[in-house]
Symmetry: C2
Subunit: 332 residues, 2 copies
Amino acid sequence: MEPSNRQIVIEQLPQGKLAAEHFRLRETAVPVPAPGEVLLRNRYVSLDAANRAWMQGATYRAALNAGQVMAGGALAEVVQSRAATLAPGDLVFADTGWQDYAVLPAARVMKVAPVEPLTHLISVYGVAGLTAYFGLLECGKPQPGETVVVSAAAGAVGEIVGQIAKIKGCRTVGVTGGAAKCKLLTSELGYDAAVDYKAGDTMRALRDACPDGIDVYFDNVGGDVLEACLFNMKVHGRIACCGAISQYDSAAPHGPRGVPGLIVTKRLMLRGFLVSDFYPQRDKALADLQGWVKSGQLRVHEDIIEGLENLPRALIGLLAGQNIGKRMVKVV
Amino acid sequence: MEPSNRQIVIEQLPQGKLAAEHFRLRETAVPVPAPGEVLLRNRYVSLDAANRAWMQGATYRAALNAGQVMAGGALAEVVQSRAATLAPGDLVFADTGWQDYAVLPAARVMKVAPVEPLTHLISVYGVAGLTAYFGLLECGKPQPGETVVVSAAAGAVGEIVGQIAKIKGCRTVGVTGGAAKCKLLTSELGYDAAVDYKAGDTMRALRDACPDGIDVYFDNVGGDVLEACLFNMKVHGRIACCGAISQYDSAAPHGPRGVPGLIVTKRLMLRGFLVSDFYPQRDKALADLQGWVKSGQLRVHEDIIEGLENLPRALIGLLAGQNIGKRMVKVV
């Protein structure tokens, strides 16, 4: 029997909350590469809040549409190559989408060297780790002794931001949802303090956790938490704008109060970024991250779910804040 | 008869739109300086949108309250000095408030050298000109050939921003209210194009005026115009956050949509500033401004109203967009 290619297709774009019925599983033939292309076998598919944003409309990539294979980045193995630059057995990171196999032009995949464990190529040495590194250090520019607040603090990016900020000598405050996750932030993930945004009055809780104000806010969520941080920023504070997860799974995103009033009076700097903007500095970042992991200063948390068919619920759960650290689905 | 000191006092803080009944005129004795203080006679009082913001609550200064003399900066002459650093006849810029005379500690006034005309010390060589200069060049960082959008484009700061951007080789688009002011922007103030935010669909009008997108937006207004600009910014665009005049004269300020989503996807930089942050670089700025005025590259527009008693309507009119260039009230 020929192997088949399982694909998870967008059945319908969500208007509000993402749910299982927005996806369906189908089986097709394994695709065949043309000259210049490679056939990839997915190993681990990365789950990212941005996946949901792509379903809202055009972002830094074209909007997704019903009928398409759901988009997503993955660690994959080359099984057949019609390009000189890649050979069977090579490991690559690529936007393969949610499927067992994908054919892509060789120019659109990034070869990566194997590490132990492989999953670190998706977490700390992948987009999550580099996003944390560049966003915090290049956009937030924290100084020793400063107070750094991180939202989605137990998430793939957030947990690394918090730890890098500690390595840089900062006081760190994580914002997350629920008492259990708050406890985890301080007991397991190294934060100095935690704020539960689900407990109400985040503005007040942040003021209590940061009595001298916030120097750097690493924003993964936007919305009400961003607003509460704006009101608690110190003069000349910096906000690294990484994502807006609170706004993705919603039909009516709204902007925070205090924009631009507080930006002016507190002379804040807000800077949006994509990790790809910093790829020229990638080697230095990876060397730092590897050094910190090796020395035990940076502990990596991964949340691995088995089975391609579980991708929809893995993403739905991520948007609900179920994961601790980097969530991925092991395909094979 | 002793000279008296006319003062304009806040009768009541406005909840919504500022009106004449929020002020009243009273006469008191001319105050007497203590050691270390000076008695000032106001010459020209500066009208600024920020005056209204101070009535909303604490900003970079404490909130104003009913019963206080209305705050405001002015060009004043020292009439009596009990400080070694200042002598009668000296010209100073100081936060005197809206009154004929004020007593202030010498340390809280800034001595200025007379120029011809004196009013330029309040417009192009005062807070307005320096705000335009530093906000555009330090926060906006425009490059030759880039598109610069300026809101409140005919106002004291805006008209100078537009002209400096032209001097730096940029294409300039001014946003203002009404067809007559739009015409003035292109015929008198040197803008390449004008957008009327009162004509509706500012988003579309900006897209038409900036078909390649906006590189730098100098924001004096916040609100809907900021939102429309966010949607039209180019990737890696910069926004200099100078003020939020659209939000000051209102009870329910709201934040723009697209924050932080568009900041992330377009990798924007938003930077708030106060002119005082840049005072260490003041001499260089003044030298540049003086050079441009002398060479005729920078034309200064001033809107001078006579009579201290007219300060309330001067501010109310400024908030309604009546002024072209720097508005001030000549006291004596």
